[in-house]
């Protein structure tokens, strides 16, 4: 009986641990729903969804990058790059061609990152840091320092269409994001290719020995990261009907924070797209509530930092604890308990 209880308690803790992002989301959402003025209405919730769209899309690829145990610091500039390419080419080739080109551009940047990481074996932190600088320069050069806007009726039409709520909480852009999240989440969990990414991140040596082409998966992860960043960027730019030269800059730190808060570990092999998505939603609900309370960005930055720090500390502390008890022998623990009981019995 006793043993069962201990097991249940441990199970409870591990279940809570695994689902902590959902609980965090629930708590923050409930708090805002109860106390934040004008929070619970269709319009505001749709606003949250709309704002979340960019970072949620970008975070799909970034989660994949963390799952394979790498880092991609260039996602922020890829967002901008895709936006600039997509909108800049629209005049000459139309959206029908410029949007795929923009997405492809993101993919190409990811491909270069991936090849440098997988084949040239340079640390991804360095490759993507360098790529960030290169891309920023490229963006400024091809635009001549000029943001791009599309103030034509067809551009406005697409922009309006993307932003229009056709169902509570859903706009086409949000729907695209959600579809991508569902596809990626399902693919990562249920397909062999998806599981292989985890294998590569969990132990690339094992993966390679199991006949998984780790280089190809590493490159693929960077390409997907580039693609999702580009998709996020171009959709965002189309809805804004403009591409500014730093529109993606704030996404980098945001996406890193959200992915970590969502429970994906920097060490690789752990985490999931859906959890990251919920983490993005959580942050977005929090930020939205802060604005509704009339509080400033300083509160927002501070709270985001505290939550992130708490999550990291919690995770570090659990693995610190786990290391302490790793290898404990159950029969000896039982023996200890028997001794204690005996001692208690004899003293009473």
């Amino acid at each position: 009986m006793r043993k069962l209880q201990i097991k249940d308690k441990q199970q409870l803790i591990s279940t809570i641990d695994k689902n902590r992002i959902f609980i965090l989301f629930g708590v923050i959402f409930l708090f805002m729903a109860l106390f934040a003025p004008r929070f619970m209405n269709v319009f505001n919730l749709t606003t949250i969804m709309r704002t979340m769209s960019l970072n949620a899309t970008v975070a799909i690829g970034f989660t994949l990058i963390l799952v394979i145990g790498q880092l991609d610091l260039s996602i922020g500039t890829i967002i901008t790059f895709a936006a600039v390419v997509g909108l800049g080419l629209k005049e000459s080739v139309g959206f029908g061609l410029s949007v795929p080109l923009a997405v492809a551009a993101g993919g190409v940047v990811g491909l270069i990152n991936g090849i440098l990481v997988a084949k040239a074996k340079i640390n991804s932190f360095i490759v993507t840091l360098g790529m960030m600088t290169v891309l920023q320069g490229t963006i400024y050069t091809i635009t001549g320092g000029n943001s791009i806007s599309l103030s034509t009726p067809d551009a406005f039409a697409i922009s309006d269409w993307l932003a229009e709520m056709f169902f509570p909480l859903l706009t086409p852009r949000v729907l695209i994001t959600i579809i991508l999240v569902i596809l990626a989440s399902f693919g990562m969990r249920r397909t062999r290719i998806g599981r292989n990414f985890y294998m590569v991140g969990g132990n690339s040596q094992t993966a390679w020995l199991a006949g998984i082409d780790t280089d190809r998966y590493t490159i693929a992860a960077f390409v997907i990261s580039g693609l999702t960043a580009a998709v996020g960027g171009i959709l965002f730019a189309m809805e804004s009907a403009a591409a500014t030269l730093n529109m993606g800059n704030s996404s980098l730190m945001y996406v890193i924070s959200a992915t970590i808060i969502g429970g994906t570990s920097m060490a690789g092999g752990k985490g999931g797209v859906f959890k990251t998505f919920v983490a993005v939603l959580t942050l977005e609900v929090l930020y939205n509530g802060i604005i509704l309370f009339g509080l400033g960005n300083e509160v927002k930055i501070f709270l985001a930092g505290v939550i992130l720090a708490a999550v990291i500390l919690y995770e570090a502390y659990t693995s610190y604890r786990r290391e302490k008890v790793l290898g404990q022998r159950p029969e000896l623990m039982k023996e200890l308990e028997r001794d204690r009981e005996a001692a208690a019995a004899s003293s009473s």
Binding site: N196, M199, G201, L209, R329, L332, M333
Partner: protein
Amino acid sequence: MLNTTVLEMTKVSKAFPGTLAVDNVDFSVEVGEIHALCGENGAGKSTLMKIIAGSYNDYTGHVYISGKEVDLHTPSKSKSFGIEMIYQELSLAYPLSIAENVLAGRMPMKSRKKNGKGLFIDKDKMVRETRRCLKMVGLDHLDPMLPIEDISQHEGQLVEIAKALGNNPCVLVMDEPTSALSREDVKRLFTIMRNLKNRGISIIYISHHLPEIFEVADRITVLRDGKKIATREKADITSEELVQMMIGHSVNEFYSHADHSINEIRLSVDNLTRNGFFHKVSFQARKGEVLGLGGLSGAGRSELARVLCGLDSRDSGTVQIDGKEVKIRNMGQALRKGIAYLTENRKTEGLALRLNLGENILAGIIPQLTRTGIYNSRRGFGILSKLVKELSIYPPDPLRIVNNLSGGNQQKVLLAKWMASEPKVLILDEPTRGVDIGAKMIIHQSIERLAQEGHTILLISSDLPELVALSNRILIMRQGHIIREMQKSECTEESVLLAANGEGV
């Protein structure tokens, strides 16, 4: 038994920058045989096997499988010919589940058609298939969805074996599969191997453990310096001949039986307990004594050592050195009190592989080399050159990166690190694991000399001849308790083994 050759390699070579690791080797494996591969560390065994497993794409020579010439340039290619390899170091993905590790690269997919390629993973089938594989190695009590990081190390080793068996291989390569296994598990493994053999599966078996080889192998091939020396039937060769072929000349004796004088008590441990790891351990060790710690893997010996040197915390009990109680909270304090610990995991815990020989040897005595706040590694040069010479570390170049040394020399570097710190009590945890015979002898002689000089040695070893030969007394641990103390006179390989298994008187 059909006497057909399943795998044949002719004139196979593999060069690393600056050296020929495998030099023009011919090697063949018959259907349904257990073929042992012997040689010292660096003889080229592992490289040869990695060629078979498809780890290199730039070897030269020819490989034939069932008479057909093939290229084994990637692991997946080798797998497609039914070659499976079990690696010496665990190659499991720790955050992932057992099932995913066992079925790595061949996850079952849902599909309407039979054997058709589906898109999604069939989870039920995955669990079923994993259970089947685990059952072969006696791990069917484990939940296949448990992540590897939640199971113990020797279970991990068995999972590794289950993984290879699950692929229905026709050639199975085992690179020191028993080094982390307990005696029971080794027995079970040998049974599995014989069963496989009877089913016509060929096994290539690499081990340093000669008794094991003579127990299971049908044929033995010896490599030395990358060249093949000979292939013999087991019946045609004796242990001494085999050793001679491996090291190139004959040795008269493995171990000397020095008699240690018994002095005053140096280390006294009383009721030491770490909850869940070992309970109420008490013993005493004298100056100049080699105290052996026998037992099966997982009996709590390494855990005891870790607590003694402050790497883990204790829950109760006392430790005295030279009659004074010491409270040790970390390894730095342990060193100051005169306790040093040579870890069993050379590559992860023992050495900084990317640093050079000198830096590694001096790593433990940095405080001693620091005077008035100034650290000068040159002060350690005397100790360094003395130790390098004493242990015949090759090459004797203090600037050589340790990663580029052979396993035996790495182990010598590790021992040198602790000899440099001149400890009162030196705990050696598997000091000769995975080490070639030459290095092993040098290490043994150093241990004896240390004892003669008055150091107290706690020797943890699963190598029974070594344990029996070197120890003055042996304490047997089993499941976290010391269950017996054996004097030198009553120690034989057999008696120790029986005691460790909880049998015998």
